[in-house]
Amino acid sequence: MLRMPQFSLERPRSLAQAIALLSEHGPAALPIAGGTDLVPNLKHELHSPSVLVALEHVPELHGVRVLADGALSIGAMTRLADLALHPEVVARAPALAQAASLVAGPQLRTMGTLGGNVLLDTRCQWINQSYFWRQALGFCLKKDGTVCHVVEGGKKCVAAASNDTAPALMTLGATLELEGPDGVREIALDEFWVADGINNKKLGQGELLVRIRVPQQRAGHRGAYGKLRERGSIDFPMLGVAVRVDIADERIRDADLCVVALAARPLRVKRVGETLAGKPAQGPELETAIEAVAELAHKQCHPLPNIPGDADWRKEMVPVYVRRTLLAALTGSGPVHHV
């Protein structure tokens, strides 16, 4: 078995304590939520913290609430398994519930949290390997090396955002509530990402994700998530597609579509709303519009050989999963998953 590095474990009982600990230890400390991403990364020597700050017992990070304005406020420590089955989440944000239900496998969803999935480190076949393996490779741009093995001569890391819940939250217009040594701030998830595989998030040193806010959706909201992976469980996405469609009077009023597992950040497919707006919610006119959206996505998405899985084939899967996920949202039959 690969060994864990040596570290000390802090178990704060409040958000203030957690933030103080992270400030006190600086970059030598890392927060740990469910640990399902961090622990294997520690074993691969991708991080070498001297302190881990466990967020398990921080009460502010727990609980799912419906706010007075109808928004959902979801604690960052909410377990993915609980989120997937939470009746308010299922009713108000079906795409999020579906995405959470397809992260990894059942055991990992029991430990893994929404906050952890949103903040999941980017992934690449050249980085998520043991120290020995990476050393034999000569390391890579993301850590310890200078060469990108995905893009020849590449100077910017293109490790892939692989968080299933991120595109779903983006289509829902979610915002993040962050708290750090400099206080509380709120940021739209759309604004949170950076197209850099080394660190694709605007998260300050010592800052914690406290809660995720999903605003009240319009009446007639439909959502779905589609996940492409080889196995019916465990695997990270080879492609994730999240869809929001707002229906009014049996016509599409607005729509949004975001994808993940292609590039360093989750992406929004452009001009989806305008292509679908005004179209009837069923019938041949809708089918033509869905084809047009699939074509848009196909043109805009450029998978790289960063994660395992043939990149050309993943590109061909974009229109297929876009089409299927849009249909699933419209018919309420998501998630799109092969098992």
């Binding site: 076949q125 390997q129 043991s130 490779l137 019916g232 084939w313």
Partner: protein
């Protein structure tokens, strides 16, 4: 859901022929009993190698090569040795003697002596007070390498000789591991005279065993210089011999023990670097030393399925009779020989059934490349040729407008016959296998008639129940068993056989219980301990049930003769009247006279002496009278037929397999639950290889993903319904008629899947693995896209398979 779940523990297993001796005549045999170690494993009480801890034990780790091919110029371990907590560091210089499981090809060193041959090749080993200290020490060892050209393509190894991966004799290409060409009959004349000659190329990729337990070994030296090695091995006896050779020790001073084993599938049938390293480190430090490999290291140790590039030319008459098979095979062996000599023969020798063809030629070449070494994996050497041939046979049926099951029937070789390459066939239940899968799958109503995108495919195969080729030439028995009787009524069996999870210890216990009339719970099995047990050659080539089973029956009958003789004297009756059954000894002539079995043992012990016996098994003389003719010569062959049902998603290339019907002739199911488990496990493994698994290196020669995340194997939700249909042909030489069941049932699933895809969408896939990108490419090349379903003619409605589900026996 497995067949076991469907039927429950009291399932009416298998088909019964009229006149076939019912299993009701037995007390134990044929009953779905629990494995003797089942509870220990299920509760976590079973002790595996890594569970063993000795006082003062040190932990060892291996330094591995980061180069695919390089000269090792210098190893400097001084900084590592200076690290607090480090007790010893060894390098190739400490273990310079080469070994290899096949005595003719010793080309491995426990640690690199002058050269490394793949990324992950062991270079040095450290023993320290704990694993972390040992790992830290590895990072302090300085190795100077001189990189050499690395071979990744086996075709390059065929033609390029310098640098040689294993420098050979002058004038020989050191990159060629083994070449075998054998001719039987005139295959070219057959082709010239045939109505149809079909020729094609096929690819089988690399796959690995991935047992859940990684390799682990623990060594300890006693004060008087006795070395004990506990190792997760499936070949205790060969490890014993290899240790003596490499450590230059008298084998009488070495004891090798196999603790409970967490799966092997062929991946633990070589002697491995860690076994020598812990022994040497324990010798150097005077303390027990354990090494447990990581999952990544198991991928480097590999010995899995050889990638093969196969070319077949099959000749047939208009009525579908095969007249000749001509094969040319290039085998990518990776960096060492391992069992490669045998692989090269098996790739040809094991194709000559269940079909009869009068002419056959195979020309197979195994080459070295700078990749983790290949070796024996479940269905050793014969899964790849079987794939190619059964796909080609399907195509012949298509071209001749014959039903694919019918063409297989027409070419059936029969029972009690001889193959074109001189192998003796005894029992053969292949026709029954075909009949069962045909019926259970609804073949006649559904094949060729399902809607576009869904299809059924069939394939057949045969496999060995051990062979008469011992790895080293000798005239001693292949399997030995010893029995010891206790006055309590308990019987202890000592067997060298390796239970690797396949249940061989359970089989031994069932046989003893049946033969001597004691309850199974009163039989203790002591196995795979070279100090305590008579030699058995190990768990490979599906030999254990057949050979150890026969040796067990031999020992039991000798012991029973003593006991029955003593009771006959005691009761003053004919010995033929005495039976040992259900825990009692009975005079069948006067059933009022009966004794508890323990009392019967007391009477026998008083009259005969201390009770015990030995038994053995050796194969009869078998095989063709030519060089290599004994390789693949088995005392009995098992036969299998599968029907696979597939659904093809023409937009993504995803293959979904809802059902596999597996009919297997195992001779007799000594325990039908274990047989069904082996059949299901085999079909799982084969299907996993076809759909997902791909053991390969990337463009740098680095393993493409040495983890169970990246080396994808199907999970429970990815698996089809597996229907195990047991056929019992009652082999004349098997123990109670039994033959193997652990490897044969793997073979047909891959070609049957390809054949099912052809039925579903009309595209023939000849190159494994059938990953989604590859399938989609092939579909697109054939002009099939998502509109194809709409274009296809409406299919005739057919009975869904669910009707056959419950009755799938």
């Amino acid at each position: 859901m497995s067949a076991r779940d469907l039927h429950g523990p009291g399932a009416p297993w298998g088909e019964r022929e009229p006149g076939h001796r019912s299993n009701d005549a037995f007390s134990v045999i044929g009953r779905p009993l629990r494995k003797v170690d089942g509870l220990a494993k299920a509760t976590g009480a079973a002790l595996y190698a890594d569970d063993l801890v000795l006082p003062g034990m040190l932990h060892a780790k291996t330094l591995r090569s980061p180069h695919a091919h390089a000269r090792v110029l210098r190893v400097d371990a001084s900084a590592a040795l200076a690290l607090r907590g480090v007790h010893a560091v060894i390098t190739g210089a400490d273990l310079p003697i080469k070994y290899g499981v096949i005595p003719w090809t010793p080309d491995e060193n426990a640690l690199a002596v002058d050269r490394v041959r793949f990324i992950g090749d062991p270079v040095a080993a450290v023993a320290a007070i704990d694993e972390d200290t040992a790992n830290a020490a590895l990072k302090l060892i300085r190795v100077e390498y001189e990189p050499l050209h690395a071979y990744m393509d086996p075709r390059e190894s065929l033609v390029r000789t310098e640098p040689a991966i294993h420098p050979g004799k002058p004038g020989e290409n050191g990159n060629i591991s083994k070449h075998v060409r054998l001719d039987f009959g005139d295959v070219d004349a057959a082709a010239a005279a045939a109505d149809l000659v079909l020729e094609g190329d096929y690819t089988f990729h690399g796959t690995t065993h991935a047992p859940i337990e990684p390799h682990c070994a623990l060594a300890s030296w006693s004060a008087d210089g006795l070395l004990t090695l506990w190792s997760a091995t499936q070949i205790t006896h060969y490890v014993h011999r290899a240790l003596a050779r490499v450590l230059e020790l008298d084998p009488a001073r070495i004891r090798v023990v196999q603790p409970c084993l967490g799966g092997a599938f062929g991946g633990k049938s070589d002697p491995f670097s860690l076994e020598f390293c812990v022994a040497k480190l324990a010798q150097k430090t005077g303390r027990p030393v354990k090494m447990l490999w990581t999952r990544e290291e198991v991928f480097y140790a590999h010995r899995g399925r050889h990638p093969m590039q196969l070319h077949y030319r099959t000749s047939a008459s208009r009525d579908g009779r095969i007249s000749g098979v001509d094969a040319k095979i290039l085998i990518d062996g990776g960096s060492y020989s391992s069992f490669g000599l045998v692989t090269t023969y098996y790739a040809g020798q094991l194709l000559t059934g269940p079909y009869d063809f009068p002419s056959y030629r195979f020309d197979s070449t195994r080459v070295f490349t700078n990749k983790p070494p290949c070796g024996p994996k479940r269905g050793h050497g014969s899964v790849q040729p079987r794939f190619a041939f059964e796909v080609q046979l399907d195509e012949i049926a298509e071209q001749l407008a014959l039903d694919p099951i019918e063409i297989r029937r027409r070419n059936f070789q029969g029972e009690q016959t001889r193959t074109v390459n001189g192998q003796r066939i005894t029992s053969n239940g292949f026709l029954q296998c075909l009949e069962l899968v045909e019926r259970a799958s609804g073949w006649k109503d559904r094949r060729g008639k399902l809607p576009f995108g869904r299809g059924l495919g069939v394939a057949g195969s045969m496999y060995i129940s051990g062979t008469n080729y011992p790895v080293y030439p000798n005239d001693m028995p292949q399997a030995g068993v010893q029995l010891k009787v206790d006055r309590s009524g308990a019987i202890t069996v000592f067997t060298g056989g390796n239970d690797i999870g396949q249940g061989s210890n359970s089989v031994v216990a069932y046989l003893v219980a049946e033969e001597l009339g004691v309850p199974v719970e009163h039989v203790r099995v002591v196995a795979a301990d070279t100090d305590l047990c008579p030699v058995d050659l190990g768990a490979y080539s599906s030999r254990v049930t057949f050979m150890v089973g026969n040796a067990t029956i031999d020992a039991c009958r000798k012991l029973r003769a003593q006991i029955v003789g003593a009771l006959a004297e005691h009761w003053q009756c004919e010995a033929g009247r005495v039976r040992l059954i259900e825990g009692r000894a009975i005079d069948t002539g006067d059933p009022a006279r009966s004794l508890p079995i323990a009392q019967a043992f007391h009477i026998a012990e008083a009259r005969c002496d201390t009770l015990g016996s030995t038994g053995s098994y050796n194969t009869p003389k078998l095989g063709g009278d030519y060089r290599g003719g004994t390789i693949g010569a088995s005392p009995a062959y098992s036969f299998t037929a599968h029907v696979v049902e597939v659904e093809v998603d023409v937009e993504t290339g995803r293959l979904t397999v809802p059902h596999v019907w597996i009919a297997h002739d195992c001779g007799r199911a000594l325990n039908p639950m274990l047989v069904a488990g082996q059949m299901e496990g085999s079909a799982y493994m084969g299907l996993a290889e076809a759909l997902m698994e791909d053991h390969d290196v990337n463009r740098y020669g680095l393993h493409a993903g040495p983890s169970l995340l990246d080396y994808r194997m199907p999970t429970a939700v990815d698996m089809p319904e597996l229907h195990a249909l047991i056929v019992e042909s009652l082999d004349p030489e098997g123990p109670y008629g039994a033959k193997e069941a652990g490897e044969g049932p793997l073979h047909p699933v891959l070609p049957a899947l390809s054949n099912a895809i052809h039925d579903a969408v009309g595209v023939r896939l000849r190159h494994l693995p059938f990953t989604m990108p590859r399938v989609l490419r092939e579909l697109r090349a054939a002009g099939i896209d998502r509109r194809a379903r709409e274009r296809a003619k409406p299919a005739r409605l057919a009975t869904p398979p669910h009707a056959a589900r419950g009755g799938a026996r």
